[in-house]
């Protein structure tokens, strides 16, 4: 299963990386949205072990192909994975699974941006010239539309992942039973 997840991630990565023609007109869709939604969906799944290592590896992969300092996304994703683990332990309710996934996706995507701004601020404090992003420059409407879009997409990914993991678990159990 890990291999399949890794392959999906690589394909998503290249889709996102070469997204030029489709979304380059709107800066709010240019970020790491696809990868971020997939990684949050992974964090949300209980039976995916080692989500911190996933966060670390995917973060480093993103760092290689972005203008941020090396390690920025790795730190952001690890912290996010930690927050989601805590949140999940306290608030997960099986009745409102979709709503839970959506709020996690939405807040997770916003948290990534907030962490990114904090890391950029840190870069500036450390004396490294970086992009100057001011919150006042951001078109809030478009910003939230893009986040809702990616959060909905993330819910879809979450459902698919849920089904795929369940069927893989069933297969694994069946194999175990057969072996016994």
């Amino acid at each position: 299963m890990k291999k399949i997840l890794f392959l999906i991630l690589i394909v998503l990565f290249f889709v996102q990386y070469s997204y030029i023609s489709l979304v380059s007109g709107n800066p709010y869709f240019r970020g790491s949205g696809l990868i971020a939604t997939f990684i949050i969906a992974l964090f949300l799944k209980e039976n995916v072990h080692g989500s911190f290592w996933w966060a670390f590896l995917v973060g480093l992969l993103l760092d290689y192909f972005s203008t941020t300092s090396f390690g920025t996304y790795a730190i952001i994703f690890i912290i996010l994975a930690g927050i989601i683990k805590i949140y999940k332990a306290k608030f997960e309710q099986s009745r409102h699974k979709m709503l839970f996934a959506f709020t996690n996706m939405f807040l997770g995507l916003i948290l990534i941006d907030i962490f990114l701004l904090v890391m950029l601020k840190m870069d500036i404090l450390l004396g490294i010239p970086r992009e100057n992003i001011f919150v006042s420059d951001i078109n809030i409407e478009w910003y939230f539309i893009s986040k809702v879009f990616f959060a909905l997409l993330g819910v879809g990914v979450f459902i698919l992942l849920d089904k795929a993991l369940r069927s893989f678990d069933l297969d694994a159990r069946r194999l175990k039973i057969e072996n016994i």
Partner: protein
């Protein structure tokens, strides 16, 4: 149960500390470990997905345009007739244009040494508006070189040159600054991006008249970019907040979404 929780927490701290160490080691360096190698290894995949993305985009555009085909056809026939009559007129204007080019020093494309290259990706963080092209320092690409399309239209500068790929910062990027001048009046200013959505020319003295449609070209001041590359056309001017200067937003002559091939200005030809 407690032991499991402790184990998870320990795993979290180990990975986080590892990431922080990596960040601390490399945050001050513009190069990332094995960056060239990673980009070289992923280049064939990037090119493939980039082409696939464009193919999909073109197909979408084609299907969405089917509904308007009939309308477009009759419009085009009408336009064709008009254009035929204009060809004769344009031949005359062409001569005049060449004269004007000499007068305003807008450089023709054949006066530069150009290196053709393909766009294969973009910056993943979305913070800077940049492309990744499939030529790097091995092909003679250096940082700050101008990147143009078509008839010498500037779209950006090389921000970072790796061995086989390079980052191109587009002029609409927030951090992009280009020394430019208004060709009609000769007034000098700075062209800068506005969070990846639009571009403005700034720092134009209040005494200068900016007209809608004035063309803006690189001024060559600073020696980084060559003089005479077209940047865009001015729209309505407005005063800056301190009333000392005026600025105008620009219409860019290029649709960045459809750019597939770009040219790097590696030098100028001596004639």
């Amino acid at each position: 149960m407690k032991r499991m929780a402790k184990k998870k927490a320990l795993r979290f701290y180990i990975v986080l500390i590892l990431a922080i160490i990596i960040f601390a080691i490399f945050h001050n360096s513009s190069k990332k470990p094995f960056e060239g190698l990673v980009h070289t290894a992923t280049k064939p995949f990037s090119s493939f997905f980039s082409d696939a993305g464009r193919f999909t985009y073109n197909k979408f555009s084609f299907f969405s345009s089917i509904g308007t085909l009939k309308k477009d056809n009759s419009r085009l026939l009408e336009e064709n007739l008009k254009l035929k009559s204009r060809i004769a007129l344009l031949n005359d204007i062409k001569k005049e244009n060449n004269e004007l080019r000499k007068q305003i020093e807008l450089a023709p494309r054949d006066s530069f040494k150009l290196k053709a290259t393909m766009v294969i990706g973009r910056d993943m963080s979305g913070l800077s508006d940049s492309f990744i092209i499939d030529a790097g320092s091995n092909d003679g690409i250096k940082e700050q070189m101008a990147v143009v399309v078509s008839e010498g239209i500037l779209i950006g500068k090389v921000k970072k040159a790796l061995k086989t790929t390079s980052y191109v910062e587009l002029i609409r990027s927030k951090n992009s600054r280009v020394n430019a001048e208004i060709t009609e009046s000769g007034a000098k200013g700075i062209v800068r991006g506005q969070y990846g959505t639009s571009v403005i020319i700034d720092m134009i003295p209040q005494t200068v008249e900016i007209n809608k449609g004035d063309s803006i070209m690189t001024s060559g001041v600073g020696g980084i970019l060559p003089r005479g590359l077209l940047v865009g056309y001015a729209q309505e001017p407005m005063s800056t907040a301190d009333q000392l200067f005026q600025q105008a937003s620009l219409i860019l002559p290029v649709d960045y979404g459809s750019i597939r091939m770009v040219w790097i200005v590696t030098g100028t030809k001596n004639k």
